[in-house]
């Protein structure tokens, strides 16, 4: 898995599945990069400066990334990735 920063956010490439995903905002890119440093998604979103009003939208985006295998739950299941 590799993340390439771009003006709009970032490209994420999974070498195993050859799947290319787009992180459509810089904030979402920060969230994905830092996700494993936070106990849960809400804390990660807050730390990345995502306004509370947009949390739902970001959770939806993270759900899609989870479904694509871009991120995954931590083994001890206390957060994501």
């Amino acid at each position: 898995m590799s993340i390439r920063p771009e003006p709009f956010g970032a490209l994420v490439y999974d070498f195993a599945t050859r799947r290319l995903s787009f992180l459509k905002t810089p904030a979402l890119t920060r969230v994905v990069r830092e996700l494993d440093k936070h106990p849960d998604v809400d804390t990660a979103l807050a730390a990345a400066g995502v306004p509370a009003a947009e949390h739902d939208k970001y959770v939806k985006a993270l759900d899609q990334l989870l479904a694509a295998g871009t991120i995954r739950p931590l083994p001890e299941d206390e957060g994501s990735r």
Binding site: F8, Y13, F15
Partner: protein, 405 residues
């Protein structure tokens, strides 16, 4: 801003990079977009190719589409393939199958991050070989058998859609299913030798609708390289993929001699951005070339702006317009609304720019044509007669300059 709008202004590195490794090819397909055949003596060396791969790794170009010519006829092809993969640059390569032996197929099946595209332009030998040459169907078929037997599933069968194979779409799909492969169909472009056969090979208006409907019915299971977005104007349902010309914005081409073009279908000086051998290499060309900067500016729809379908087709393919002599801000030559017909009539015979790079093999030995030779001393420019009708055989003759030898 939507993602497609960001793409319009270009990215820090290409998403989809085509790299043609050699102009050498064992085939001579009539529609070859790079007019391949003979190797070019200036082609990048193994070491130079590796430096390009290093750069792609630094730029995080996650994968390249390698083609040619026939890339596998380069003796260092397998070495470069391994080098790319070891440097986090995945490879999808196109081949006519000539070197895909059972051994190579097993080797490829054991590698990660490699994908293969076998070219096939007819579901039957008759249709395929008419374009790709005698025996080429058999060669491709044997390669696909070898890949399937080695357990390489999900390779791609790549078909250029022509007037003669649109009716074979279901048959192509059956062939792909038979080999556990995935069908990929792309658009015929009037590029390279394709300029010579485009008139007789490109699908008719009726076939374009057939193609659009077939694609809608088969959805994301069939790959298209997003090359049919001009068909989106046919209906309210858009085909999956990007409906934007990505030339110089998200795609580009590196040719065998290191020249960087805006897209694989635009091998012409008009779309030449630089060379990977220039100072700063490919990175510098991608980021600072004036041509790419121009392509990344907002484009006007020109004559198309007033068309109701402009948002779905965005004027179509830049290369197709260029090589048919149409203005780049006008309709695509295959505009499904028929808006290009009048414009194409106005272009007139011979007015379209000719592809200016040709590596086709000569079908007959080069004939030695007569070369004007003047007998005497000194350079020939000195011995043009003063007057055409001069009776003296020594008209304009000067004694050779003793300082010049």
């Amino acid at each position: 801003m939507k993602l497609v709008d960001h793409f319009q202004y270009g990215l820090d590195a290409p998403i989809c990079l085509t790299w043609e490794l050699t102009y050498a090819c064992n085939l001579a397909c009539t529609h070859c977009l790079s007019s391949s055949g003979r190797r070019d003596p200036r082609e990048l060396s193994t070491e130079e190719c590796k430096r390009v791969i290093d750069e792609l790794q630094r730029m995080q170009v996650f994968y390249v589409n390698i083609g040619g010519g026939e890339p596998t006829v380069r003796s260092d092809f397998w070495e470069l393939l391994e080098y790319a993969i070891d440097h986090q640059v995945g490879v999808k390569f196109s081949t006519n199958g000539v070197r895909i032996t059972p051994e190579r197929a097993r080797q490829l099946a054991a590698m990660d991050y490699v994908d293969i595209q076998v070219s096939l332009d007819g579901a039957t030998p008759e249709v395929n070989d008419a374009v790709r040459g005698p025996g080429s169907f058999h060669t491709a078929w044997r390669a696909m058998e070898n890949l399937a037997a080695a357990g390489f599933t999900g390779f791609k069968i790549s078909v250029v859609m022509t007037r003669h194979n649109v009716d074979q779409l279901d048959e192509f799909k059956r062939i792909a299913d038979h080999f556990g492969a995935q069908l990929r169909i792309t658009r015929l472009r009037p590029s390279g030798r394709g300029a010579d056969v485009w008139d007789e090979l490109h699908p008719t208006q009726e076939q374009q609708r057939q193609l659009y409907e077939w694609l809608l019915a088969h959805g994301e299971n069939v790959l298209t390289g997003d090359s049919f977005f001009h068909l989106n104007a046919l209906g309210s349902t858009a085909l999956p993929g990007l409906n934007l010309c990505g030339a110089g914005r998200v795609v580009c081409l590196i040719d065998p001699v290191g020249d960087v073009y805006a897209c694989p279908f635009a091998i012409h000086d008009e779309f030449l951005a630089g060379n990977v051998r220039d100072p700063g290499g490919f990175t510098e060309v991608w980021r600072t070339s004036p041509l790419f900067a121009k392509l990344r500016q907002p484009q006007t729809g020109g004559a198309c702006t007033s068309c109701s379908a402009y948002d779905s087709c965005r004027g179509g393919c830049m290369a197709a317009k260029f090589f048919t002599g149409l203005p780049l801000d006008g309709p695509d030559p295959e505009c499904v609304k028929g808006n290009a017909e009048r414009a194409l009539e106005l272009v007139g015979a011979g007015a379209a720019p000719k592809p200016d790079k040709d590596h086709s093999r000569r079908t007959a030995p080069r004939r030695r044509s007569a070369v004007p030779v003047s007998i005497g001393w000194g350079p020939p420019e000195d011995r043009i007669p003063d007057r055409a009708c001069d009776t003296s055989p020594l008209a304009g003759f000067r004694l050779p300059d003793p300082r010049r030898t």
